[in-house]
Each structure stands twice: as structure tokens, then as C-alpha cells.
Amino acid sequence: MKDYFKISTRTIVATGLGAAIFTLLFMYVKIPSPVPETSFQTAYGLSAFFATLFGPIAGGLIAFIGHALSDSIQYGSPWWSWVIASGVASFIFGFAYKRTSVEEGEFNMKSIITFNTIQIIGNVMAWIVVAPVLDIAIYSEPANLVFAQGVIAAVMNSISAGVLGTLLLIAYSATKAKKGSLSKK
């Protein structure tokens, strides 16, 4: 468990660059969904991917910084309740760190199930618990409204994180050579 919260320079750099990609994807790369006026945020696929590679601290910070920055650029100020929820979701994604076989050159079925279970738990906690509670506490929003919004967000973001995260992890594991197997030809 200690490993989960160890911060090396590599983690910090991955966090900084990951947050930069998150910001960019969050603003520019959305996948339009079949329901009008809604879209899937590809950024959660990225944060799930980075969280699985670098752990909860990196994951949480990537989404927190990235979401806060893109909100600031677009709206002038971060929308704290959702920024915090984003951070919480991606922090929880990070518990897939070292629980999957991604570094061993094969992202197998078991890993896919582990990753997606954790990812769905993260999204449910963030969007059906954290975000609505904060919205009620700060803005006194009606409970039925924020929970309805939360359920939609949880479903949409689970799909983004699930589909894109899984595919990214599969692609990444394909690039990992098995230990001691590289030799010159």
C-alpha cells in the first residue's frame, strides 16, 4: 500500500504532462454521443490510463489540475464541486496501479475486469456522491436535480474511462517488452 503514495520525480513529471494533455482533451476532444447536446469526455480515458500507470496521486492531481485549468480558461474560474469530483474519480482510478498486468506485456481479461471495476467505483463515488453533495452544500441545489445529473455523468464518464482507458492500456502493454527478452539481432 505504501507504494501507492510514493512520489518520485517521474510521478511528478507524469502528473504535469498528464494534466497538460487532460486540459487539452477536456477542451478540444469530446466525442458527441447519440443524445443531443451531450458528449463523452475523452479526458477521463486519459486520466484512467495515467492513474493505472502512475498511481492514485498522479491520477487525482492530473484530473484536478487539468479540470481546474480548462475551467479557468473557458469560464474564468474553476467550478470547484466538479473539479474536486474529477480529482476524486481519477484518484480512485489509481487503485488499479500495480493490480493489473499492463507492465508485463499483456493486458489480459482479468486485468480488464479489475481496471473496469475500479474505474466504475471511482466514477460512481465521484459523480453520485461527491459532486452532488458538494453542489448541495455550496449552492443548495435541489437534491433530485444534482443526483439525476450525477447518474448521467457517472454513466457517461464510466463509458469514456472504460472504453478509452481499456484500449489505451491494451495498446500500451503491447509496447512493453518482457523482462530480459530484448537482444540485438
Partner: protein
């Protein structure tokens, strides 16, 4: 110079955990304080690993098995830590964008002191002083986007020197610089050596460029072993360079072509120490005897830019009144310093940007109305970094992507992909993951993925950047093959060897204007063009002057012609 030993390798070996064989084998090397050392070797020779051992990245960041001993300033490196070692050995990395972590020049120079918890006033004072040493003191609040490659490298150098290290280690300092900036960098390093008497270690494969200034010793590394340890004159007179795939200085090649036996007595290590007085007549005779190459006659125009002007913001013109005509089957270089407008030019050709004025013709047809996708079937562009193009794990899928996205039938895709893979020499690897390929092979995959769309023009951005002589030759031979199949090849490049050896014609862009469009031999001997394009004079020209040949440009042309005949 004193005799104090500062670095000592004793029967030192290192093997990365991920490798099945040691990368460094039985290294024995002594370096004394104040020496200036060059380590040369082809890619994968172990020269970078040797550098990592010195600055502590090995064993503290890269894990592996170490044998033997490595002492820096009398202490075993493995008993210290990376922070302690970095106070003795300061490293300037190859990629100055990666090393430049601060948001501004001042912050980046101060980075080490910030980490040392230095009080702000003391830090500001010292930053200013070091910035003055590398002539960056007027740029302290500039961000990396406002700087040239040379300025970024000087910032990196200042960021290392601020620590008053004993050893300065330069890892491929020339890799990302244009020829003129590279020359300047070597001069700056030499000045620092003269003024501070620090130990300097340069790791580089561009030998001739480093030998622009004095070097005490050159260490040749290949396959993880030290194969030579000698001075520049002995090295270029020996056969070690050619045997190990390192390019010798061009003037040495020219002397050899002329039939001169190059000996250490001629002091051939540096152009400015070379003494040819005894062999001038041999070179002159050879010059007169070279059989001129017939110029290829290419008449049919395939691409024409007619008075093209472009600007991003409607004010500052990036390209101005550009007229270029390229013939079918040509192989051309487009050169110019960073920011001159070369990349914008290729973006216009591909339709990524649209010209404000003028027109671009493909086979007499104005292609203004064609979409990016349609143009890609006429003009394909290959980016510099293959990693920026590769989006599939398997080779076949990557190459097939452009066809799949165009809804081509599966049977036709298979046929076309296989044909292209065969041309690119990748057929045996068809079912391999791309990650298992070398850099050069990846480059081929990206070229294949463009060629599969059957364009008749191929534009390549710096196709040989960062490649050693062997890989450079492989990539260029491959492009020549492609060119022979009838495809027109346009290369955007800084590489003067590439211009000399592979493209008879060079187009020079400076400040958005075309300033030259002629034979490469003429471009590389014209002072004014050289200066405006940040190139440098080829040493062949200097050699011609030295032996007393009036027409230096003709000498360069003869060299090119002769080389084509013997290659």
C-alpha cells in the same frame, strides 16, 4: 594541465535489467582534471550509457548489474547518490526542450539553486552572473517559445554551470542544432574550457563538427568496448572510424578520394591544423581528372507554387511571393534556419493551411479546392518524429490505416499494404508489433503508411535528424530507392551532408522569402546564403582553397560527382 585523476573506470561492466547482454564491457578509462575529451561511437555503441554512469543516472535511475569500479573524484559512484554526483558532474542533455523545465530562462537557470533551498537574493545574483557567461542575461524573463535552439542550449549550460561542477558532460550537444548554431556551441564549450579549466566530456557522433576546436583525446566506443583512445590526428589517419560506422571529416574523405595517404604528420585532426603542402599537386590532379556527372534531365513539372503568400494572423507574413517549380522525379532539399517558413511551406502544400495569395499547381491543376484528405493522395508528408504518427500497435494495421479510413475493400488493402511493405523492406516484419522495431524501421513504417496512398510527391521533415552515419545512410539509400520508382522527394533539412550527397538542388528560404534555388554545391559555398540560412561552409571548400584550387564550388561539385560514381 595538472595530473589529478578525476574519473577512473576499472574493469567496469554494466547490464540493464531489460537487456540480455551487457551494454558496457570491461571498460578501463582514466580522465584527468582539466582534460577535454570526446567520446564517439555509433548509435547503440554504449556511449550514452557511459555518460549515464558518470552522472549517476546509472545505477540510481536505471537499474541493472554493475561490475568493476567507477570512481569519480576518488569515490565509488555506487556508494554515493545522484544528488551528490550531480554536484561533481553537470550534464547538458541532448534535448534542450526536455532539459528546459522552467517557465522562463531565469527560473530554469536557478533550478538547481531552488532545489538547494538557496535564499532568493543570493540566487538572483548568481543567476545573473552565470547568464552573463553564456550571453543570456538579457533574456532572463523569456519563455522557451521565444528562444532559438542555440539559446535554449546555452540556458541549459548555464543551469548546469551555476553549481560550479568539476566536470561538464555534454550528451550529443549538436543533435538538434543547425550547422551554424552547432559551430557556435562548440566554440562556447571551448571558451568555457579555456576560461574555467573544467574537465569537459563531449559525447557525439558528428565528429567533424566537434573537431572545429581543439580536443585533447578521443575515445572510440563500439559494442560496449573502448576501441581507441588517441588524439584527433591519429584518429582520422586510422581506419577505426570507417570500421565502426563513424563518418570521417569530409576533407579527409576528399583527400582519400584523391589518392593521398593521410598520416598523423599532416595534422589532419582539425581543418585549421591540416598541412597539405606536400600533397597539393595530387589533389589538384585529381580535381582535373574527375569525370563530370551528366545532369539528369527532368522536364515535366509536377508541382508549382506561383507567387504564394501566407500569414497566420493577417499581419506578419510567414511566406512572401514564393515561386517554386519542382520537376517530376526530382529529389530536392528545402533549407533555412528555424522559423524561416519551411514547415509552413509544407503545410500549405498539404492543405493544412491555405495560401492567402497566389496558387499551388499540381500537374497544371490549381489544387486550392482539394481537401486535406484528397491532397494526401497526391502529396504525402512524413513528420520528423515517427512516434507522432504511429497509432496502431501492429505494422500491418498502421500501414493499412489510411486505406481503411477510405473504406477500401479488404482484399485490395491487403494487396496494396503488402506491396508497399515489400518496397520498404518490411515484409518479413509484417505481423510484428511496431514497438519491437528500431527507430529507422519505425521511420520506414511511417513512410510506408504514407506511400500506401500512392502519392506522387513525398515531403519529409528532417528525415535523418539525430541519426548516426549508418542509419543516415540506410534511410537515405531507402529514399533514393523510392525516388527511383518515380516518386518526387522533397526534404526539409539542416543536414549539409544530405544536401551534398543526395539532392542536386537546394531551395533556400530566409524570412519567408526564397533567397536561392540552385545546385547544392553552389548553396554550400555562397557566403551570403550560408549566413542567412544558418548553414556553414563545407570543409571541402576550405580544402580547395588550401591546396590552391581557384574554383572551390567546382571542387565541391567534383567531390559529389566522384562520390556518386564510387558509391
Amino acid at each position: 594541465m595538472n595530473d589529478k585523476l578525476i574519473i577512473e573506470f576499472n574493469n567496469f561492466s554494466f547490464q540493464y535489467y531489460s537487456q540480455s547482454e551487457p551494454t558496457l564491457n570491461d571498460i578501463n578509462l582514466k580522465i584527468y582534471a582539466g582534460e577535454k575529451i570526446l567520446i564517439v561511437g555509433p548509435s547503440g555503441s554504449g556511449k550514452s550509457t557511459l555518460g549515464h554512469c558518470l552522472n549517476g543516472l546509472i545505477p540510481f535511475s536505471y537499474r541493472g548489474i554493475t561490475e568493476g569500479s567507477l570512481k569519480v573524484k576518488g569515490k565509488e559512484t555506487k556508494d554515493q547518490d545522484i544528488f551528490t554526483l550531480s554536484k561533481v558532474v553537470g550534464t547538458v542533455l541532448q534535448d534542450s526542450d526536455g532539459q528546459f523545465v522552467g517557465l522562463t530562462v531565469g527560473e530554469d537557470i536557478a533550478f538547481v539553486m531552488e532545489n538547494d533551498n538557496t535564499p532568493i537574493d543570493e540566487m538572483k545574483e548568481r543567476v545573473l552572473k552565470v547568464a552573463q557567461m553564456v550571453d543570456m542575461d538579457r533574456w532572463l524573463s523569456a519563455s522557451p517559445y521565444e528562444l532559438s535552439g542555440g539559446q535554449k542550449q546555452r540556458t541549459a549550460l548555464a543551469g548546469v554551470m551555476i553549481d560550479d561542477v568539476d566536470v561538464l558532460l555534454f550528451d550529443e550537444p549538436l543533435a538538434n542544432l543547425d550547422p551554424a548554431t552547432g559551430k557556435k556551441a562548440i566554440e562556447i564549450i571551448d571558451d568555457i574550457h579555456q576560461n574555467t579549466n573544467k574537465t569537459i566530456i563531449i559525447i557525439e557522433h558528428r565528429l567533424e563538427d566537434v573537431l572545429h576546436r581543439e580536443i585533447d583525446r578521443i575515445i572510440v566506443v563500439n559494442e560496449g568496448r573502448i576501441l581507441g583512445d588517441m588524439n584527433a590526428h591519429e584518429l582520422v589517419s586510422s581506419s577505426i572510424l570507417i570500421e565502426n560506422g563513424i563518418r570521417e571529416p569530409l576533407y579527409v574523405t576528399a583527400l582519400k578520394y584523391a589518392g593521398v595517404t593521410v598520416t598523423p604528420e599532416m595534422k589532419p585532426g582539425h581543418m585549421n591544423t591540416l598541412d597539405t603542402s606536400a600533397v597539393n599537386h595530387i589533389v589538384k590532379e585529381w580535381h582535373l581528372s574527375v569525370v563530370k556527372e551528366e545532369k539528369r534531365k527532368l522536364n515535366e513539372s509536377i508541382l508549382k507554387m506561383d507567387d504564394v503568400t501566407f500569414s497566420y494572423d493577417g499581419r506578419k507574413k510567414i511566406l512572401e511571393n514564393i515561386n517554386i517549380e519542382i520537376a517530376k522525379g526530382e529529389m530536392v532539399s528545402i533549407v533555412g534556419r528555424n522559423g524561416a517558413g519551411k514547415s509552413t511551406l509544407s503545410k500549405l502544400l498539404c492543405g493544412f493551411e491555405k495560401e492567402d495569395q497566389g496558387a499551388i499547381y499540381y500537374l497544371e491543376e490549381d489544387i486550392k479546392g482539394k481537401t486535406i484528405k484528397e491532397r494526401a493522395e497526391l502529396i504525402g508528408v512524413v513528420m520528423q518524429n515517427p512516434n507522432q504518427m504511429i497509432s496502431k500497435p501492429m505494422i500491418f494495421d498502421e500501414v493499412a490505416l489510411g486505406l481503411k479510413l477510405r473504406n477500401v475493400k479488404a482484399s485490395e488493402i491487403k494487396e496494396r499494404v503488402e506491396k508497399v511493405l515489400k518496397i520498404c523492406g518490411l515484409l518479413p516484419f509484417m505481423d510484428w508489433p511496431i514497438s519491437a522495431l528500431s527507430y529507422g524501421q519505425k521511420k520506414r513504417v511511417t513512410i510506408a503508411s504514407i506511400l500506401v496512398l500512392n502519392p506522387s510527391i513525398l515531403i519529409l521533415d528532417e528525415p535523418t535528424a539525430g541519426q548516426d552515419y549508418k542509419h543516415y545512410s540506410e534511410i537515405m539509400a531507402f529514399l533514393q530507392e523510392i525516388n527511383k520508382t518515380g516518386i518526387t522527394v522533397i526534404m526539409i533539412t539542416h543536414d549539409m551532408h544530405l544536401m551534398l550527397e543526395y539532392t542536386p538542388r537546394a531551395i533556400v528560404i530566409s524570412d519567408g522569402k526564397k533567397i536561392a534555388d540552385t545546385d547544392s554545391a553552389i548553396v554550400l559555398t555562397d557566403h551570403q546564403v550560408i549566413e542567412e540560412a544558418n548553414l556553414k561552409e563545407t570543409s571541402l571548400y576550405n580544402l580547395a582553397k588550401m591546396v590552391g584550387i581557384e574554383d572551390g564550388t567546382q571542387f565541391v561539385q567534383n567531390f559529389i560527382d566522384y562520390e556518386r560514381q564510387v558509391r
